[in-house]
Subunit: 289 residues, 2 copies
Protein backbone atom coordinates (compact mmCIF):
# COMPACT_ATOMS: atom_id res chain seq x y z
CA UNK A 1 0.00 0.00 0.00
CA UNK A 2 2.95 2.31 0.69
CA UNK A 3 3.23 4.81 -2.13
CA UNK A 4 6.47 6.76 -1.95
CA UNK A 5 6.54 10.34 -3.13
CA UNK A 6 7.49 10.47 -6.76
CA UNK A 7 8.29 13.32 -9.09
CA UNK A 8 9.25 15.86 -6.46
CA UNK A 9 11.87 13.87 -4.60
CA UNK A 10 12.34 16.41 -1.82
CA UNK A 11 8.70 17.36 -1.40
CA UNK A 12 7.24 16.57 2.01
CA UNK A 13 3.93 14.75 2.19
CA UNK A 14 1.04 16.50 3.89
CA UNK A 15 -1.81 14.26 4.93
CA UNK A 16 -5.29 15.76 4.91
CA UNK A 17 -8.16 13.93 6.55
CA UNK A 18 -11.93 14.42 6.52
CA UNK A 19 -14.94 12.26 7.31
CA UNK A 20 -16.17 13.03 3.77
CA UNK A 21 -14.86 15.16 0.93
CA UNK A 22 -15.80 18.64 2.18
CA UNK A 23 -12.22 18.86 3.46
CA UNK A 24 -11.11 19.18 -0.15
CA UNK A 25 -11.77 22.92 0.32
CA UNK A 26 -8.97 22.85 2.92
CA UNK A 27 -6.77 20.92 0.49
CA UNK A 28 -7.45 23.53 -2.19
CA UNK A 29 -6.42 26.30 0.23
CA UNK A 30 -3.28 24.35 1.17
CA UNK A 31 -2.26 23.78 -2.45
CA UNK A 32 -2.62 27.49 -3.18
CA UNK A 33 -0.13 28.22 -0.38
CA UNK A 34 2.16 25.16 -0.53
CA UNK A 35 2.09 23.97 -4.14
CA UNK A 36 5.35 22.00 -3.90
CA UNK A 37 4.16 19.60 -1.21
CA UNK A 38 2.85 16.16 -2.06
CA UNK A 39 -0.69 15.62 -0.71
CA UNK A 40 -2.49 12.51 0.46
CA UNK A 41 -6.18 13.11 1.16
CA UNK A 42 -8.36 10.53 2.91
CA UNK A 43 -12.14 10.80 3.11
CA UNK A 44 -13.62 8.28 5.57
CA UNK A 45 -16.80 8.20 3.52
CA UNK A 46 -17.85 4.71 4.67
CA UNK A 47 -18.31 5.92 8.23
CA UNK A 48 -19.66 9.43 7.77
CA UNK A 49 -21.36 11.34 9.19
CA UNK A 50 -19.22 11.54 12.29
CA UNK A 51 -21.65 14.04 13.82
CA UNK A 52 -24.09 11.48 15.19
CA UNK A 53 -21.42 9.30 16.80
CA UNK A 54 -19.86 9.32 20.23
CA UNK A 55 -16.54 11.01 21.00
CA UNK A 56 -14.89 7.62 21.56
CA UNK A 57 -16.05 6.24 18.23
CA UNK A 58 -15.04 9.40 16.37
CA UNK A 59 -11.58 9.27 17.97
CA UNK A 60 -11.14 5.63 16.93
CA UNK A 61 -12.15 6.34 13.34
CA UNK A 62 -9.99 9.48 13.15
CA UNK A 63 -6.95 7.71 14.60
CA UNK A 64 -7.26 4.85 12.10
CA UNK A 65 -7.48 7.40 9.30
CA UNK A 66 -4.53 9.42 10.62
CA UNK A 67 -2.41 6.27 10.97
CA UNK A 68 -3.19 5.30 7.38
CA UNK A 69 -1.94 8.69 6.17
CA UNK A 70 1.23 8.55 8.28
CA UNK A 71 2.13 4.85 7.97
CA UNK A 72 0.90 4.01 4.50
CA UNK A 73 1.29 7.35 2.78
CA UNK A 74 4.29 8.71 4.64
CA UNK A 75 2.59 11.92 5.75
CA UNK A 76 4.99 14.17 7.71
CA UNK A 77 2.22 16.59 8.74
CA UNK A 78 -1.49 16.12 9.19
CA UNK A 79 -4.31 18.57 8.71
CA UNK A 80 -7.64 17.45 10.17
CA UNK A 81 -9.96 19.06 7.64
CA UNK A 82 -13.09 17.95 9.49
CA UNK A 83 -14.74 20.18 12.05
CA UNK A 84 -16.27 17.32 14.03
CA UNK A 85 -13.00 15.38 14.29
CA UNK A 86 -11.13 18.61 15.11
CA UNK A 87 -13.67 19.40 17.80
CA UNK A 88 -13.80 15.98 19.43
CA UNK A 89 -10.62 14.06 18.61
CA UNK A 90 -7.69 16.42 17.93
CA UNK A 91 -5.94 15.55 21.20
CA UNK A 92 -6.40 11.82 20.63
CA UNK A 93 -5.00 12.05 17.09
CA UNK A 94 -2.02 14.10 18.26
CA UNK A 95 -1.22 11.39 20.81
CA UNK A 96 -1.62 8.59 18.28
CA UNK A 97 0.75 9.75 15.52
CA UNK A 98 4.34 11.02 15.72
CA UNK A 99 3.87 14.02 13.38
CA UNK A 100 2.49 17.54 13.84
CA UNK A 101 -1.32 17.63 13.61
CA UNK A 102 -3.40 20.73 12.91
CA UNK A 103 -7.19 21.05 13.18
CA UNK A 104 -9.49 23.63 11.59
CA UNK A 105 -11.14 25.10 14.67
CA UNK A 106 -8.26 26.89 16.40
CA UNK A 107 -7.14 28.57 13.14
CA UNK A 108 -10.74 29.64 12.48
CA UNK A 109 -11.01 31.20 15.93
CA UNK A 110 -7.58 32.82 15.51
CA UNK A 111 -8.64 34.38 12.21
CA UNK A 112 -11.86 35.62 13.84
CA UNK A 113 -9.80 37.23 16.61
CA UNK A 114 -7.63 38.98 14.05
CA UNK A 115 -10.62 40.24 12.06
CA UNK A 116 -12.99 41.32 14.84
CA UNK A 117 -12.80 44.81 16.29
CA UNK A 118 -15.75 44.58 18.69
CA UNK A 119 -15.12 41.03 19.90
CA UNK A 120 -18.51 39.57 18.95
CA UNK A 121 -18.48 36.81 16.32
CA UNK A 122 -21.03 34.53 14.69
CA UNK A 123 -20.30 30.91 13.74
CA UNK A 124 -22.33 28.76 11.36
CA UNK A 125 -21.62 25.03 11.26
CA UNK A 126 -23.21 21.60 11.24
CA UNK A 127 -25.37 20.41 14.10
CA UNK A 128 -22.58 18.22 15.52
CA UNK A 129 -19.98 20.99 15.49
CA UNK A 130 -22.37 23.43 17.16
CA UNK A 131 -23.33 20.88 19.82
CA UNK A 132 -19.63 20.41 20.65
CA UNK A 133 -19.33 24.20 21.24
CA UNK A 134 -15.71 23.87 20.15
CA UNK A 135 -15.77 27.18 18.25
CA UNK A 136 -17.32 28.99 21.21
CA UNK A 137 -14.61 27.63 23.50
CA UNK A 138 -11.80 28.53 21.09
CA UNK A 139 -13.28 32.03 20.66
CA UNK A 140 -13.80 32.54 24.39
CA UNK A 141 -10.15 31.61 24.98
CA UNK A 142 -9.30 34.59 22.76
CA UNK A 143 -11.66 37.01 24.54
CA UNK A 144 -14.28 36.77 21.83
CA UNK A 145 -17.98 36.26 22.45
CA UNK A 146 -19.27 33.70 19.95
CA UNK A 147 -22.82 32.82 18.94
CA UNK A 148 -23.08 29.51 17.07
CA UNK A 149 -25.89 28.31 14.80
CA UNK A 150 -26.43 24.93 13.17
CA UNK A 151 -27.40 25.16 9.49
CA UNK A 152 -28.16 21.53 8.62
CA UNK A 153 -29.62 22.21 5.17
CA UNK A 154 -26.46 23.79 3.77
CA UNK A 155 -24.43 20.59 3.34
CA UNK A 156 -27.22 18.80 1.42
CA UNK A 157 -27.74 21.91 -0.75
CA UNK A 158 -24.01 21.97 -1.62
CA UNK A 159 -24.03 18.23 -2.32
CA UNK A 160 -27.08 18.69 -4.58
CA UNK A 161 -24.96 21.19 -6.53
CA UNK A 162 -27.28 24.12 -5.76
CA UNK A 163 -24.40 26.41 -4.74
CA UNK A 164 -25.81 29.42 -6.59
CA UNK A 165 -29.49 28.46 -6.52
CA UNK A 166 -32.28 30.85 -5.40
CA UNK A 167 -33.50 28.20 -2.94
CA UNK A 168 -30.06 28.14 -1.32
CA UNK A 169 -29.97 31.94 -1.17
CA UNK A 170 -33.36 31.88 0.58
CA UNK A 171 -32.25 29.20 3.08
CA UNK A 172 -29.12 31.25 3.88
CA UNK A 173 -31.24 34.39 4.28
CA UNK A 174 -33.52 32.58 6.76
CA UNK A 175 -30.66 31.08 8.79
CA UNK A 176 -28.76 34.39 8.99
CA UNK A 177 -31.93 36.32 9.92
CA UNK A 178 -32.51 33.87 12.80
CA UNK A 179 -28.87 34.16 13.86
CA UNK A 180 -28.89 37.97 13.74
CA UNK A 181 -32.15 38.14 15.70
CA UNK A 182 -30.59 35.93 18.38
CA UNK A 183 -27.45 38.11 18.44
CA UNK A 184 -29.57 41.24 18.85
CA UNK A 185 -31.53 39.60 21.68
CA UNK A 186 -28.20 38.97 23.44
CA UNK A 187 -27.02 42.57 22.90
CA UNK A 188 -24.25 41.38 20.62
CA UNK A 189 -22.96 43.49 17.76
CA UNK A 190 -21.02 40.96 15.66
CA UNK A 191 -18.61 42.02 12.93
CA UNK A 192 -17.34 38.56 11.90
CA UNK A 193 -19.07 35.42 10.59
CA UNK A 194 -17.01 32.21 10.71
CA UNK A 195 -17.76 29.46 8.16
CA UNK A 196 -17.31 26.49 10.49
CA UNK A 197 -17.90 23.70 7.99
CA UNK A 198 -15.71 22.65 5.10
CA UNK A 199 -18.70 22.62 2.71
CA UNK A 200 -19.53 26.28 3.27
CA UNK A 201 -16.72 27.93 1.24
CA UNK A 202 -18.68 26.83 -1.85
CA UNK A 203 -21.53 29.06 -0.63
CA UNK A 204 -19.30 32.02 0.14
CA UNK A 205 -20.70 34.30 -2.62
CA UNK A 206 -24.29 33.74 -1.44
CA UNK A 207 -23.30 34.11 2.23
CA UNK A 208 -21.35 37.33 1.61
CA UNK A 209 -24.38 38.73 -0.23
CA UNK A 210 -26.58 37.90 2.77
CA UNK A 211 -24.56 39.15 5.76
CA UNK A 212 -25.29 42.63 7.11
CA UNK A 213 -22.92 45.44 6.02
CA UNK A 214 -19.75 45.53 8.08
CA UNK A 215 -19.68 41.79 8.83
CA UNK A 216 -16.56 40.02 7.51
CA UNK A 217 -16.81 36.39 6.42
CA UNK A 218 -13.99 34.16 7.72
CA UNK A 219 -13.36 30.81 6.10
CA UNK A 220 -11.88 28.26 8.51
CA UNK A 221 -10.54 26.23 5.55
CA UNK A 222 -8.41 29.18 4.42
CA UNK A 223 -7.48 29.97 8.03
CA UNK A 224 -6.30 26.38 8.59
CA UNK A 225 -4.18 26.53 5.45
CA UNK A 226 -2.57 29.78 6.63
CA UNK A 227 -1.85 28.18 9.99
CA UNK A 228 -0.37 25.15 8.23
CA UNK A 229 2.12 27.33 6.35
CA UNK A 230 3.33 28.83 9.63
CA UNK A 231 3.35 25.53 11.50
CA UNK A 232 5.07 23.48 8.84
CA UNK A 233 7.66 26.08 7.87
CA UNK A 234 8.47 26.67 11.51
CA UNK A 235 8.82 23.02 12.49
CA UNK A 236 10.00 19.96 10.67
CA UNK A 237 9.80 21.03 7.04
CA UNK A 238 12.74 22.36 5.09
CA UNK A 239 11.56 25.92 4.59
CA UNK A 240 12.96 26.13 1.10
CA UNK A 241 10.87 23.16 0.06
CA UNK A 242 7.62 24.53 1.34
CA UNK A 243 7.97 28.25 0.85
CA UNK A 244 5.66 29.02 -2.06
CA UNK A 245 7.81 32.03 -2.98
CA UNK A 246 10.83 29.78 -3.44
CA UNK A 247 8.93 27.40 -5.66
CA UNK A 248 8.87 27.30 -9.40
CA UNK A 249 5.94 24.89 -9.23
CA UNK A 250 2.41 26.08 -9.72
CA UNK A 251 -0.63 24.55 -8.10
CA UNK A 252 -1.39 22.81 -11.39
CA UNK A 253 1.70 20.60 -10.93
CA UNK A 254 0.93 19.56 -7.36
CA UNK A 255 0.93 15.83 -6.72
CA UNK A 256 -2.35 14.75 -5.08
CA UNK A 257 -3.45 11.27 -4.05
CA UNK A 258 -7.05 10.86 -2.97
CA UNK A 259 -8.40 7.94 -0.95
CA UNK A 260 -11.89 7.08 0.28
CA UNK A 261 -13.27 4.28 2.42
CA UNK A 262 -16.47 4.00 0.35
CA UNK A 263 -18.49 5.92 -2.25
CA UNK A 264 -15.53 6.47 -4.58
CA UNK A 265 -17.98 7.33 -7.35
CA UNK A 266 -19.65 10.15 -5.40
CA UNK A 267 -16.24 11.42 -4.26
CA UNK A 268 -14.99 11.59 -7.85
CA UNK A 269 -18.23 13.17 -9.07
CA UNK A 270 -18.54 15.88 -6.39
CA UNK A 271 -14.95 16.27 -5.25
CA UNK A 272 -13.86 18.52 -8.11
CA UNK A 273 -16.38 21.15 -6.99
CA UNK A 274 -14.68 21.32 -3.60
CA UNK A 275 -11.12 21.08 -4.87
CA UNK A 276 -11.66 23.50 -7.75
CA UNK A 277 -9.95 21.03 -10.13
CA UNK A 278 -10.36 17.35 -11.06
CA UNK A 279 -9.65 15.01 -8.15
CA UNK A 280 -8.49 12.30 -10.54
CA UNK A 281 -8.81 8.66 -9.67
CA UNK A 282 -9.85 8.01 -6.05
CA UNK A 283 -8.51 4.82 -4.48
CA UNK A 284 -10.69 2.72 -2.19
CA UNK A 285 -9.13 1.74 1.15
CA UNK A 286 -10.56 -0.52 3.83
CA UNK A 287 -9.99 0.70 7.38
CA UNK A 288 -12.40 -1.88 8.84
CA UNK A 289 -15.32 -1.11 11.08
Amino acid sequence: MKQPATGLASAPTIGVFDSGFGGLTVLQALIARLPRARYAFLGDTARLPYGSKSRRTIARYAIESAQFLVREQGAEFLVIACNTASALALDAIQEAVPVPVLGVIEPGAQAARAASRCGDVLVIATDATVQSHAYAAACNARNLRALEKACPLLVPLVEEGWTGHPVTAEVIRIYLAELNAEATARNMNPDVLVLGCTHYPLLRPLIEAAVPPGVRVIDSAAAAAEAAVHLFNGRAAPAATLDPEASSNTAADTEIHCFATDSVEKFERLGSRFLGRPVGSVKLVDLGG
Copy 2:
Protein backbone atom coordinates in the same frame (compact mmCIF):
# COMPACT_ATOMS: atom_id res chain seq x y z
CA MET B 1 -32.27 -7.54 27.65
CA LYS B 2 -35.24 -9.80 26.87
CA GLN B 3 -38.44 -7.91 27.52
CA PRO B 4 -41.46 -10.18 27.42
CA ALA B 5 -44.76 -8.79 26.22
CA THR B 6 -46.72 -7.43 29.12
CA GLY B 7 -50.23 -6.06 29.48
CA LEU B 8 -51.72 -7.78 26.44
CA ALA B 9 -50.81 -11.34 27.21
CA SER B 10 -51.90 -12.71 23.86
CA ALA B 11 -50.69 -9.84 21.73
CA PRO B 12 -48.02 -10.81 19.21
CA THR B 13 -44.89 -8.68 18.96
CA ILE B 14 -44.18 -7.02 15.63
CA GLY B 15 -40.61 -5.87 15.13
CA VAL B 16 -40.09 -2.80 12.97
CA PHE B 17 -36.61 -1.90 11.80
CA ASP B 18 -35.13 1.18 10.12
CA SER B 19 -31.65 2.62 9.70
CA GLY B 20 -32.99 5.80 11.32
CA PHE B 21 -36.38 6.89 12.61
CA GLY B 22 -38.16 7.65 9.32
CA GLY B 23 -39.61 4.15 9.61
CA LEU B 24 -41.80 5.44 12.44
CA THR B 25 -44.21 6.48 9.66
CA VAL B 26 -44.56 2.77 8.88
CA LEU B 27 -45.05 2.03 12.58
CA GLN B 28 -47.78 4.70 12.72
CA ALA B 29 -49.54 3.08 9.76
CA LEU B 30 -49.20 -0.36 11.38
CA ILE B 31 -50.64 0.82 14.71
CA ALA B 32 -53.65 2.32 12.93
CA ARG B 33 -54.40 -1.09 11.41
CA LEU B 34 -53.18 -3.48 14.15
CA PRO B 35 -53.60 -1.59 17.44
CA ARG B 36 -53.59 -4.73 19.61
CA ALA B 37 -50.09 -5.85 18.65
CA ARG B 38 -47.06 -5.06 20.79
CA TYR B 39 -44.38 -3.18 18.83
CA ALA B 40 -40.60 -3.10 19.13
CA PHE B 41 -38.99 -0.48 16.89
CA LEU B 42 -35.23 -0.35 16.32
CA GLY B 43 -33.49 2.56 14.60
CA ASP B 44 -29.87 1.73 13.77
CA THR B 45 -28.98 5.42 14.09
CA ALA B 46 -25.31 4.80 14.90
CA ARG B 47 -24.68 3.35 11.47
CA LEU B 48 -26.93 5.45 9.24
CA PRO B 49 -27.05 6.36 6.47
CA TYR B 50 -27.09 2.91 4.93
CA GLY B 51 -27.28 4.46 1.47
CA SER B 52 -23.56 5.01 1.04
CA LYS B 53 -22.55 1.53 2.15
CA SER B 54 -22.03 -1.70 0.25
CA ARG B 55 -24.71 -4.38 -0.04
CA ARG B 56 -22.66 -6.73 2.14
CA THR B 57 -22.26 -4.17 4.93
CA ILE B 58 -25.95 -3.20 4.80
CA ALA B 59 -26.94 -6.87 5.00
CA ARG B 60 -24.70 -7.40 8.05
CA TYR B 61 -26.12 -4.36 9.84
CA ALA B 62 -29.71 -5.26 8.97
CA ILE B 63 -29.28 -8.87 10.08
CA GLU B 64 -27.85 -7.79 13.44
CA SER B 65 -30.79 -5.44 13.89
CA ALA B 66 -33.33 -8.10 12.86
CA GLN B 67 -31.79 -10.63 15.24
CA PHE B 68 -32.00 -8.12 18.10
CA LEU B 69 -35.72 -7.69 17.46
CA VAL B 70 -36.39 -11.43 17.19
CA ARG B 71 -34.06 -12.77 19.92
CA GLU B 72 -34.10 -9.95 22.45
CA GLN B 73 -37.57 -8.54 21.87
CA GLY B 74 -39.41 -11.69 20.87
CA ALA B 75 -40.67 -10.31 17.56
CA GLU B 76 -42.84 -12.83 15.72
CA PHE B 77 -42.98 -10.76 12.54
CA LEU B 78 -40.61 -8.20 11.09
CA VAL B 79 -41.32 -5.18 8.95
CA ILE B 80 -38.24 -3.66 7.32
CA ALA B 81 -39.31 -0.01 7.32
CA CYS B 82 -36.20 1.12 5.47
CA ASN B 83 -36.15 1.41 1.72
CA THR B 84 -32.40 0.84 1.39
CA ALA B 85 -32.41 -2.29 3.56
CA SER B 86 -35.55 -3.55 1.79
CA ALA B 87 -33.89 -2.96 -1.57
CA LEU B 88 -30.53 -4.53 -0.78
CA ALA B 89 -30.92 -6.96 2.11
CA LEU B 90 -34.47 -8.36 2.32
CA ASP B 91 -33.44 -11.85 1.14
CA ALA B 92 -30.49 -11.93 3.55
CA ILE B 93 -32.71 -10.92 6.48
CA GLN B 94 -35.35 -13.50 5.55
CA GLU B 95 -32.66 -16.19 5.59
CA ALA B 96 -31.23 -15.03 8.92
CA VAL B 97 -34.34 -15.01 11.10
CA PRO B 98 -37.05 -17.67 11.57
CA VAL B 99 -40.05 -15.30 11.32
CA PRO B 100 -41.93 -13.72 8.41
CA VAL B 101 -40.22 -10.58 7.10
CA LEU B 102 -41.87 -7.87 5.01
CA GLY B 103 -40.15 -4.98 3.22
CA VAL B 104 -41.63 -1.71 1.98
CA ILE B 105 -40.79 -1.91 -1.71
CA GLU B 106 -42.97 -4.79 -2.91
CA PRO B 107 -46.08 -3.40 -1.13
CA GLY B 108 -45.38 0.03 -2.64
CA ALA B 109 -45.16 -1.44 -6.13
CA GLN B 110 -48.29 -3.53 -5.50
CA ALA B 111 -50.23 -0.44 -4.44
CA ALA B 112 -48.98 1.40 -7.54
CA ARG B 113 -50.21 -1.50 -9.71
CA ALA B 114 -53.64 -1.32 -8.08
CA ALA B 115 -53.87 2.46 -8.51
CA SER B 116 -52.50 2.91 -12.03
CA ARG B 117 -54.77 2.68 -15.04
CA CYS B 118 -52.23 3.53 -17.73
CA GLY B 119 -49.30 1.56 -16.28
CA ASP B 120 -46.84 4.46 -16.02
CA VAL B 121 -45.69 5.37 -12.52
CA LEU B 122 -43.26 7.84 -10.96
CA VAL B 123 -41.15 7.05 -7.89
CA ILE B 124 -39.35 9.57 -5.68
CA ALA B 125 -36.83 8.28 -3.16
CA THR B 126 -33.36 8.79 -1.73
CA ASP B 127 -30.28 8.54 -3.91
CA ALA B 128 -29.41 5.07 -2.59
CA THR B 129 -32.88 3.65 -3.21
CA VAL B 130 -32.97 5.08 -6.73
CA GLN B 131 -29.50 3.72 -7.52
CA SER B 132 -30.66 0.25 -6.46
CA HIS B 133 -33.54 0.47 -8.98
CA ALA B 134 -35.50 -1.79 -6.64
CA TYR B 135 -38.77 0.08 -7.23
CA ALA B 136 -38.30 -0.05 -11.01
CA ALA B 137 -37.71 -3.82 -10.83
CA ALA B 138 -40.72 -4.39 -8.57
CA CYS B 139 -42.88 -2.24 -10.87
CA ASN B 140 -41.61 -3.92 -14.04
CA ALA B 141 -42.48 -7.32 -12.55
CA ARG B 142 -46.08 -6.03 -12.39
CA ASN B 143 -46.12 -4.73 -15.97
CA LEU B 144 -45.65 -1.14 -14.86
CA ARG B 145 -43.18 1.30 -16.40
CA ALA B 146 -41.50 3.22 -13.60
CA LEU B 147 -39.41 6.39 -13.69
CA GLU B 148 -37.42 6.99 -10.49
CA LYS B 149 -35.94 10.24 -9.23
CA ALA B 150 -33.63 10.88 -6.28
CA CYS B 151 -34.74 13.85 -4.15
CA PRO B 152 -31.84 14.18 -1.67
CA LEU B 153 -32.96 17.49 -0.15
CA LEU B 154 -36.30 16.18 1.12
CA VAL B 155 -34.96 14.15 4.08
CA PRO B 156 -32.90 17.07 5.45
CA LEU B 157 -35.89 19.41 5.00
CA VAL B 158 -38.12 17.03 6.98
CA GLU B 159 -35.45 16.64 9.67
CA GLU B 160 -35.16 20.45 9.88
CA GLY B 161 -38.89 20.47 10.60
CA TRP B 162 -39.74 22.47 7.46
CA THR B 163 -42.58 20.10 6.46
CA GLY B 164 -44.94 22.93 5.51
CA HIS B 165 -42.33 25.56 4.63
CA PRO B 166 -42.39 27.60 1.38
CA VAL B 167 -38.78 26.54 0.70
CA THR B 168 -39.83 22.89 0.87
CA ALA B 169 -42.79 23.56 -1.43
CA GLU B 170 -40.40 25.16 -3.93
CA VAL B 171 -37.91 22.26 -3.74
CA ILE B 172 -40.76 19.78 -4.33
CA ARG B 173 -42.01 21.89 -7.26
CA ILE B 174 -38.53 21.82 -8.83
CA TYR B 175 -38.01 18.07 -8.34
CA LEU B 176 -41.46 17.19 -9.71
CA ALA B 177 -41.04 19.53 -12.69
CA GLU B 178 -37.75 17.78 -13.55
CA LEU B 179 -39.39 14.37 -13.12
CA ASN B 180 -42.40 15.27 -15.26
CA ALA B 181 -40.16 16.70 -17.99
CA GLU B 182 -38.21 13.45 -18.03
CA ALA B 183 -41.45 11.43 -18.17
CA THR B 184 -42.68 13.51 -21.10
CA ALA B 185 -39.36 13.03 -22.90
CA ARG B 186 -39.86 9.27 -22.55
CA ASN B 187 -43.46 9.43 -23.82
CA MET B 188 -44.77 8.35 -20.45
CA ASN B 189 -48.13 9.45 -19.15
CA PRO B 190 -47.92 8.64 -15.42
CA ASP B 191 -50.99 8.58 -13.18
CA VAL B 192 -49.29 7.46 -9.93
CA LEU B 193 -46.47 8.90 -7.80
CA VAL B 194 -44.94 6.52 -5.22
CA LEU B 195 -43.38 8.02 -2.08
CA GLY B 196 -40.40 5.66 -1.85
CA CYS B 197 -38.88 6.99 1.37
CA THR B 198 -40.24 6.74 4.89
CA HIS B 199 -39.63 10.46 5.49
CA TYR B 200 -41.87 11.56 2.64
CA PRO B 201 -45.31 10.91 4.17
CA LEU B 202 -44.66 14.02 6.31
CA LEU B 203 -44.51 16.01 3.06
CA ARG B 204 -47.65 14.45 1.60
CA PRO B 205 -49.78 17.66 1.71
CA LEU B 206 -47.11 19.65 -0.16
CA ILE B 207 -46.50 16.81 -2.63
CA GLU B 208 -50.21 16.34 -3.34
CA ALA B 209 -50.49 20.07 -3.99
CA ALA B 210 -47.62 19.87 -6.48
CA VAL B 211 -48.48 16.81 -8.60
CA PRO B 212 -50.33 17.31 -11.89
CA PRO B 213 -54.11 16.72 -11.83
CA GLY B 214 -54.98 13.05 -12.18
CA VAL B 215 -51.81 11.75 -10.50
CA ARG B 216 -52.47 9.72 -7.34
CA VAL B 217 -49.92 9.76 -4.53
CA ILE B 218 -49.09 6.32 -3.09
CA ASP B 219 -47.39 6.05 0.28
CA SER B 220 -45.22 2.95 0.59
CA ALA B 221 -45.43 3.19 4.42
CA ALA B 222 -49.22 2.80 4.29
CA ALA B 223 -48.93 0.14 1.60
CA ALA B 224 -46.50 -1.88 3.73
CA ALA B 225 -48.86 -1.68 6.71
CA GLU B 226 -51.73 -2.94 4.54
CA ALA B 227 -49.57 -5.80 3.33
CA ALA B 228 -48.60 -6.59 6.91
CA VAL B 229 -52.25 -7.00 7.92
CA HIS B 230 -52.77 -9.51 5.12
CA LEU B 231 -49.49 -11.34 5.69
CA PHE B 232 -49.75 -11.59 9.45
CA ASN B 233 -53.41 -12.53 9.57
CA GLY B 234 -52.87 -15.14 6.88
CA ARG B 235 -49.83 -16.78 8.44
CA ALA B 236 -48.72 -17.36 11.98
CA ALA B 237 -50.84 -14.89 13.91
CA PRO B 238 -54.11 -15.78 15.61
CA ALA B 239 -56.49 -13.82 13.42
CA ALA B 240 -58.66 -12.82 16.33
CA THR B 241 -55.72 -11.21 18.04
CA LEU B 242 -54.67 -9.10 15.13
CA ASP B 243 -57.94 -8.27 13.44
CA PRO B 244 -58.53 -4.61 14.31
CA GLU B 245 -62.28 -5.14 14.00
CA ALA B 246 -62.18 -7.74 16.76
CA SER B 247 -60.22 -5.47 19.07
CA SER B 248 -61.50 -3.23 21.79
CA ASN B 249 -58.10 -1.58 21.96
CA THR B 250 -57.51 1.75 20.32
CA ALA B 251 -54.21 2.95 18.93
CA ALA B 252 -53.74 5.08 22.05
CA ASP B 253 -53.36 1.90 24.15
CA THR B 254 -50.79 0.24 21.91
CA GLU B 255 -47.61 -0.93 23.62
CA ILE B 256 -44.53 0.48 21.85
CA HIS B 257 -40.87 0.00 22.75
CA CYS B 258 -38.35 2.12 20.86
CA PHE B 259 -34.63 1.37 20.61
CA ALA B 260 -31.78 3.20 18.92
CA THR B 261 -28.08 2.43 18.50
CA ASP B 262 -27.06 6.10 18.96
CA SER B 263 -28.56 9.61 18.96
CA VAL B 264 -31.33 8.77 21.41
CA GLU B 265 -31.87 12.49 21.98
CA LYS B 266 -32.48 13.26 18.29
CA PHE B 267 -34.72 10.19 18.01
CA GLU B 268 -36.86 11.34 20.95
CA ARG B 269 -36.95 14.94 19.69
CA LEU B 270 -37.88 14.21 16.06
CA GLY B 271 -39.55 10.81 16.37
CA SER B 272 -42.93 12.10 17.50
CA ARG B 273 -43.32 13.98 14.21
CA PHE B 274 -42.99 10.71 12.32
CA LEU B 275 -45.06 8.60 14.70
CA GLY B 276 -47.78 11.23 15.16
CA ARG B 277 -47.60 10.75 18.95
CA PRO B 278 -44.87 10.83 21.61
CA VAL B 279 -42.28 8.07 21.16
CA GLY B 280 -41.64 7.99 24.89
CA SER B 281 -38.31 6.92 26.29
CA VAL B 282 -35.91 5.49 23.68
CA LYS B 283 -33.47 2.84 24.93
CA LEU B 284 -29.89 2.77 23.70
CA VAL B 285 -28.64 -0.61 22.45
CA ASP B 286 -25.15 -1.56 21.29
CA LEU B 287 -25.04 -3.79 18.23
CA GLY B 288 -21.28 -3.33 17.75
CA GLY B 289 -19.74 -2.10 14.53
